[in-house]
Symmetry: C2
């Protein structure tokens, strides 16, 4: 999973009376009143079946040894999960793929000048952590999908290693061509750092954990506290994931044994220069040995030294060799066939593979999913059957780049396009606030669920806690909205967990759910992500594990049982309106900034200002930003908002009239709704990355995890490609028009039943 720091992305609502008093007759989106009444009884029974002891027991078992992709215990974990599902009555299988997983043969990092130093590249055992001494099958500190390499060069400190950091270095007269860069973790997905470094001509890349972002600056370090200690380091994938997810050798197709594979040396997704993650302790001697200008203030971390940029005198040798082998993924797939609409699938997943012990990432989410599934199975014992098919998945190989989920999605793409209604993901989970992200067609639906789950600490709806966080931390506008808007806005999805192939490759409406914000961080992708760490700092009583099971469980039970799939389009239209406004403002502010910068160059202000004793390269004027027309997008969004309003009004009329659709009409409507998110994709995908087909949500080419909404247009603007921005504006407008037609089809079906 991706890392979110404890500072927390949290979501947040008028403190309403506690849920307990809400009458069981309250309506639920997608349910007729009498169905809603039954559903609430079912959900109460579901809640009552959940046992937090199970989460603890399973976590302790699953985190006893390293269980990464390709490890013996990894397979045992998959079989353990499969056995549970089978025992609970699920139709269960283990589905395997063969994926590229290079592991290190040689890892060498030395400083060769001005002093000798050998990096330890090792996280030591700590007495308070009972699994930290287990070295058998432990994956060492490395970045997967680094190439082999043996490079020597002077070192340059590049802050987070993002494009804007290199622009700043250029102003200071520092180039990285032929040099080795050292970047700190943070600011983007880690794979962006070696990618940008290679684009600028660097020959190697080190990524270290600075205590400012991820260590003692944040809080006491492990084992005294939760935070990363001096020797702690962060493993992780560095493939160019924004190009495509999944196995690097089989883009777009399932990595079956006999699949046609790319040769490794033709894989564009594998980064071009050797890259290694190191601890603060290994980084300190290297950074201390840098000369050159003092780093800009915002670049300085919390190491006890003056941050310099170099280049050199620190000179390092980085030698990496990998065993370039295929490994088998073990995905656990468990189903309950729908009683009425078996060809409509609601899918729920969480990965089971870890970097090593992985108590937080991913076991905290996995055990909540398992207890949720067991709760559902308890309902089966009472004779209940879901209307739609429920699929539970435990994915393998997520850490290398969503391998298990992506290969499964690519393999079953046709079936999923036809049948998949919604994918619901989770990953790491801890104490705190409910995070809700996903397709905005599900914004209203997930808000309803959040109003019905009670926070285990505060005994108020988790919706209210999330709302309180937005009121306390938000800007005045965000505060006003959190108080006055009926729903909390949900986040848009970038990447970093297994929803990506579903949402962005296939166009399956998706949700990503989890609690966080009060569990202390610091163990991410370290051997210290252990049962001992998690039960001290993550969610000691597993209360939020149960809260996640209640939340995602309700989501699954409602999606499976609803009379009509609970999609809603007014929230989508509202959100798209905001995105188009953002893009318009982005172009405007780039135009103003470029004009101002050029003016400062031309009128001589920059020359008058700079200190002649400091390094400084006068910047050159940039071409002006032309006036761009986003009218096609504005028009398309206006149309979509109109269509959404009509659909919502039709559904309301139906309800107010006390009428209900015929079973056949309900199923037809469901078919339209089920496929609606597909209308937001284009078969040709995004420019230069055809695998990513969704036109509203994508991971950023230069952020990796963080979403870029309306990515084709937004990234063209960011890259100052005005022609492409204009072309893509037209294409995205067409996509939105297609979506409006789908919504109009749904409206027509409802109006038909209303006799109009």
């Amino acid at each position: 999973m991706r890392l979110t720091f404890a500072c927390g992305l949290v979501f947040c609502a008028t403190l309403a009376p506690a849920l307990a008093q809400i009458p069981a007759t309250q309506l639920i989106l997608g349910f007729r009143p009498e169905s809603a009444r039954k559903q609430r009884t079912l959900e109460a029974r579901f809640d009552a079946a959940l046992r937090k002891e199970n989460l603890r027991e399973w976590m302790q078992w699953m985190t006893a040894k390293p269980h990464h992709l390709g490890s013996p215990f990894g397979r045992e974990v998959a079989e353990f999960i499969a056995a549970k599902f089978r025992a609970w009555g699920y139709e269960t299988g283990l589905e395997t793929f063969e994926v590229l997983f290079p592991t290190p043969k040689t890892r060498l990092l030395e400083m060769i000048a001005p002093e000798k130093f050998s990096a330890a590249l090792r996280e030591p055992q700590v007495a308070e952590d009972s699994t930290s001494g287990i070295t058998e099958n432990q994956l060492p500190v490395f970045n997967v999908y680094s190439p082999d390499g043996d490079v020597r060069g002077t070192l340059v400190y590049v802050n987070y290693g993002l494009p804007q950091d290199y622009e700043r270095l250029e102003e200071l007269g520092i180039e990285v061509k032929g040099k080795i860069v050292i970047a700190r973790y943070g600011g983007s997905w880690r794979g962006i750092k070696p990618k940008v470094a290679a684009e600028r001509g660097a020959i190697g890349c080190l990524i270290y954990s600075d205590p400012r972002d991820d260590g003692y600056f944040q809080g006491d370090v492990y084992p005294k506290g939760a935070w990363r200690n001096a020797q702690g380091a962060q493993r992780g994938s560095v493939a160019d994931m924004p190009l495509y997810a999944g196995d690097p050798l089989t883009p777009g197709i399932g990595a079956r044994k006999d699949a046609k594979r790319l040769p490794v040396n033709e894989v564009g997704k594998i980064v071009k220069i050797p890259v290694l993650p190191i601890s603060q302790a290994d980084a300190l001697p290297l950074l201390t040995a840098l000369g050159g200008p003092v780093a800009p203030e915002l670049w300085r971390g919390a190491l006890p030294m003056t941050y310099h940029l170099g280049p050199g005198p620190a000179t390092v040798r980085l030698k990496l060799e990998f065993n370039w082998k295929l490994e088998a993924t073990y995905n656990v797939i468990a189903k309950i066939r729908g009683a009425e609409r078996p060809d409509q699938w609601v899918i729920r997943g969480n990965h089971h593979d870890a970097w090593n012990f992985g108590a937080a990432d991913p076991v905290s989410g996995q055990v909540a999913l398992m207890e949720e599934a067991r709760g559902v199975s308890e309902l089966l014992k009472t004779g209940w059957r879901p209307k739609r098919t429920i699929v539970y998945a435990a994915w393998d190989g997520e850490e290398q780049g969503l391998l298990g989920s992506t290969e499964w999605v690519e393999t079953h793409a046709d079936r999923l396009r036809k049948s998949a209604a919604v994918y619901v993901n989770s990953d790491s989970n801890s104490r705190g606030f409910l995070n809700m992200s996903g397709s905005h067609t599900l914004e209203k639906f997930i808000n309803e669920v959040a109003r019905d789950v009670i926070d285990p600490q505060k005994k108020i709806p988790v919706f209210e806690r999330a709302r309180a966080a937005r009121i306390v931390n938000g800007s005045p506008e965000e505060r006003k909205e959190a108080r006055e808007r009926s729903d909390l806005r949900i986040g848009a999805l970038g990447s970093g967990s297994d929803y990506t192939p579903f949402l962005q490759h296939l166009g399956v409406a998706s949700l990503n759910l989890g609690y966080s914000g009060e569990g202390a961080g610091g163990s991410y992708h370290s051997i210290y992500d252990s049962f001992d760490h998690y039960t001290r700092f993550g969610d000691p009583a597993f209360d939020y594990g149960v809260a996640l099971a209640q939340t995602a469980g309700r989501v699954m039970l409602r999606l499976a049982n609803a009379d009509v799939l609970p999609f809603e389009f007014v929230s989508l239209g509202d959100t798209l309106g905001r995105y188009v406004t953002e893009i318009t403002k982005l172009a405007d502010s780039m135009r103003q900034e470029t004009a101002e910068r050029n003016r400062q160059i031309q009128e001589g202000t920059l020359h008058a200002y700079f200190d002649p004793k400091q390094p400084y390269v006068a910047p050159k004027p940039k071409p002006e930003v032309p006036s761009l027309s986003f009218r096609p997008l504005h028009n398309a969004v206006a149309k979509l908002q109109e269509s959404s309003k009509h659909f919502a009004e039709s559904m309301n009329q139906l309800n107010r009239a006390g009428r209900q659709l015929s079973a056949a009409a309900e199923e037809s409507l469901d078919q339209v709704l089920l496929g609606s998110e597909r209308a937001l994709t284009r078969a040709s995908g995004l420019p230069r990355r055809p695998w990513f087909k969704h036109q509203i949500y994508a991971p950023g080419l230069y952020t990796g995890y963080d979403v870029k909404t309306l990515p084709a247009v937004r990234e063209a603007i960011e890259q100052r490609n005005w022609k492409e921005a204009e072309e893509q504006t037209a294409l995205v407008a067409q996509t939105l028009e297609a979506m409006s037609r789908e919504i109009d089809r749904a409206t027509k079906l409802v109006r038909g039943s209303l006799g109009r």
Copy 2:
């Protein structure tokens, strides 16, 4: 002087043609055209007389030994300066006062639990600094005007030790009553820290230099770089300076030998609890031994540890004993009698006392003043005589609290009220940008001067460099203004150097001038403020020492020679309008914030939000902020703006008509203008601090250095004293009305001469 970091407060303009091409006939404010022509010739001769070698030679001599108040070499330095002035033809005297200057007999700081540690309290010799080994007469690391004391207590980290920091501690359930606080330097004048700590019941106070604000985080440390090293510490006064400046025993009167003195134990200005400054090295073991909650993010410095708040377990003993003695100040006063208006004085000052060697503070400013005075004396040799009397002053005892200047001002108050036209101050000076602060009646005047001095590095007017800095660093509004407004706004004066008694006690229009922003900091009030440090990092070639001499020299020559004193009131009216807007917004935003906070308490949002596992004390609602009327102030400012416009128009008519005032009328007008700033004072002073009489500018009661404009009203609002805010609004409005009447008197004199 006060410390300003290198990040810099700088002032900033369309790059005009270089000055060299500006015709000598250009008008100068206060000068008739033909006088202006002569004046420019005079100034060119003045510039040509300046020699930077003198600055270097004098600095080297004056920084050879410690020369603080009461030291043998301090007296020698005063005599050296006096001898120079005498040699240059000035009527020169040494004027002495007897002032309270306690120096340490005992300084002891130990940690007694959980481990033993004795603080070194000493800055070691460094080989690269030739005076750092001179220990004879070196003042150790201490805070002057700490009381004697011997206290033991658990330690609490209080961030900068400001009132809002204690509010935050309260929310976290931490009290300082009976405890010893440790605060970091910064965020306010240092004397505020023990004052607020004592108000909250603390029994002792440590102030340390955190490397985040003042050490390796900022840049390489001494001697490798300019910044404060681990053992470096900051001496300084901790008297409650915002009550009154000068000798603590003789508020409001000159500290002559036979003056009536307060007993030391009745001096409200002496802080109530023992206080000691310590280095980063001495602070680290203490801070590392703190437990309790982790400090809020913005409170954390750059020490390699997790910042905790305590209280304890660190427990310390602080023992301080002082020798409570009187010392003699030696002020050098040097005059040139005015040829035409001898009773109009223009006064120029810079202090000569240091904490120890004091190359930057104050010698860099002092040697520029001396070279300026020598340049003026060269003009005397050509037969030129100033129209008005010129007074040069080198003050003693500034570091303890502006003792020399204040006692001189208090002693000669009657004479100064009658004769002082303008006081021009400087202090530390280094490479960079011209800082202009002072009375806004002089804003236009000092901008003209800044257009006529050429920056030694860039060969453009220093005005243009200052303007460039505002364009580069400013907000869009500030940028627009810097480009379009004819003058750069000058800063308002708080305190921290010798202008305070002139401006804020007597109401003498004042300017404070200096260059900074490119000389690296870190030696402030340390033994490493040395010739070696300054000539490596401050102003190695003394170019900006000469630039200061040119700037302040022009100011003096123009003030001394002008046909009419160059006061201008439109800038004042403009500035006052902004201050009243600020105050209105301050009250409005406090009202909104209070209402929002109360709402969050009442609706339960804060309760819903906070982490139950973290320390948290639910805040109580605060009384609502009433609606305040600032109408009297708005009206008074509108009147003043009207009067200012009339005066400016009258002067313009006079010029356009090619007319000139009679000598008698000029002198009458001068008398009105000379006294005009006095109209901005009230005899009763500010609430609870009658010594501060100026109604527009004062140091903040809880900032110390930083100015509070319209202080009586602004601080009443800040302290939520709504009744006083209303009363003071009326009084300040009366003051502004009095000022308008003075301006109207001036206008009448001019119109009289125009025959209307």
